[in-house]
Symmetry: C2
Subunit: 335 residues, 2 copies
């Protein structure tokens, strides 16, 4: 079967094909109208641009997965602010030689992800471009007292992470080099690859967090997501709050299979700098942090403490590894 | 002076340079938080993707103008829904060899436009791309009874346009072929070029429209903007409303200089299909339409009537031109 190309159906034809991914009542006007804000809530908005060959590639990522990941990254930014989603818009630039089915698969992945989190694609634009490009804007709502700010961390607070880190990076490696990790079980391989292809924004953490701090109205937890890595999240929170942090090596939540896959030094690099795990990193008074971890279960953990000063140190209580001062320079710098 | 390139300052460096275009209280977290919605309002969202060489070009458009036009197009989509703006987000894909100053000029144009309409750039993303790409999402608020829908037109209503059409297309022609229109006055040339480079979304029309229909709570005007041309706007409204229309040739608001610039046939083409004038096309009971035009003044005009049936006809009462049935196929189809 010959695949239909975008240039054969044109912009209007493509838009018509994509409308089935959007709620019917929202399609067909100049802009989407969304009427379900709750009173007293603030609007939260975040945006991302993803470019073929830079942020996604058919080599490691099916179009469905690229769509899912793009939506997940934006929903994770909402979760990082404490916000629940109201919808996303999708701007798509495509070459004329792109197949219609590729575009539909991108939208399928996007809509699978947003529908999983009870929200919708509420608007979009498609246009011709020399390179396939995806621009996602997500918006949500948050009540002012539940807004998670990077700048709210206080010395003495415990640092909570909501799950394992380094799993997405490991999954990418298994996709790029399938000969690696032959001694992992099928389940272990699948879980790591799934962590890369279908990351889960932690919107589910928010109601649990609000429940834990329910009777402490003066608490405003600091937080962000770990999309650029665990080290980046801690460093950004510390920089925004004017504080330091001490992380405990033995508390870092490694994926169980990671130390079988690579050296312990590489495993540590991936946990700290791998990125794209889309967990939340939250700072709370120690008792509340313990209550949160008890409620969340899974691989959630207290990984360290906010300190005075500005350094972010990684310490190994067992004394095997030397102390290390973490810096943003180990993370990604694009261009 | 050697111009600094994007690849020399990196993604973080570029973001830091662009933060001055955003309100300080909004910068530096995972997403923007906007707390100034009014109760009972709906959220309105629209998005556009613009690609270098497809939607803008240094040949006819300075980076400041490209930025202004991108913001104006999105604010116009809000106006087309009856919504007032709450902010825009800007997603920017740029090649490493783009100058930092080009990017800053794009942002200058974007922020000049949104600031002119009392709103802000509230979030953004920059990333590397093989082609310079601008993805704008605008969001605003509208009260449900003031939402302008394409689908609300009724037979017997008058069709109001808020200003001249064909001016942007004429300005583009003057930029592409500066030898044209030598007999136009400097003011005439400047106004046409300005219409192309600095189009004005008609957010100013909305409070006047609400005032005119203030004591008619059962009226819900149909409307959209004429970004894809006057013919397109009328055809889209008719299609969405299941009605037809009759337009009167002698009522169409031509820019005064247009008939001196090109043949009357070309002038008519540009008025109907030129696009990017960003006026509003509104359908209202005749008496209210007359009141609106009286209040708006300028080149606003009643250009025709909504009819039963589905055809959109252009008639010349003077009998010089034959009747014509307008169709979307005369408009733009990208790819």
């Amino acid at each position: 079967m010959v695949e239909q190309l975008v240039k054969e159906i044109g912009e209007q034809g493509l838009l018509a094909r994509l409308q089935r991914f959007c709620p019917a009542e929202i399609v067909g006007d100049d802009a989407a109208v969304i009427s379900y804000q709750e009173p007293g809530q603030s609007l939260v908005v975040t945006t991302d641009v993803l470019v073929d060959g830079v942020h996604f590639s058919d080599r490691t990522t099916s179009p469905e997965d690229a769509g899912w990941r793009a939506a997940a990254a934006n929903l994770s930014d909402l979760a990082a602010m404490g916000a629940s989603p109201l919808g996303i818009t999708v701007g798509l630039g495509v070459t004329g030689d792109t197949t219609v089915s590729w575009v539909e698969q991108i939208y399928q992945g996007l809509s699978d992800c947003v529908n999983h989190y009870n929200t919708d694609i509420v608007g979009g634009d498609v246009c011709r471009s020399p390179v396939n490009t995806l621009a996602i804007t997500a918006f949500g709502q948050v009540s002012p007292q539940h807004t998670l700010r990077r700048s709210a961390a206080q010395p003495g607070e415990a640092i909570v992470v909501t799950g394992v880190h380094g799993a997405s990076r490991s999954g990418l490696e298994l996709l790029l080099n399938p000969e690696l990790g032959q001694h992992l079980s099928d389940t272990e391989r699948r879980e790591l690859i799934q962590a890369h292809q279908r990351p889960k924004p932690r919107l589910d953490v928010l109601p649990i967090l609000w429940k834990v701090i329910e009777f402490q109205p003066s608490i405003s937890p600091a937080g962000m997501d770990s999309s650029d890595g665990l080290a980046d999240a801690v460093l950004q929170i510390c920089r925004a709050s004017g504080v330091g942090a001490e992380l405990d090596y033995s508390s870092l939540p490694f994926p169980p299979a990671l130390k079988q896959l690579v050296s312990s030094q590489t495993a540590l690099e991936w946990v700290l700098y791998g990125g794209e795990d889309f967990e939340l990193v939250l700072c709370l008074p120690p008792l509340l942090a313990e209550a949160l971890v008890a409620q969340l279960g899974g691989a959630s953990a207290i990984v360290g403490t906010i300190t005075t000063g500005t350094d972010v140190r990684l310490r190994d209580a067992s004394g095997v590894y030397p102390d290390e001062i973490l810096s943003l320079r180990r993370g990604f710098q694009h261009f």
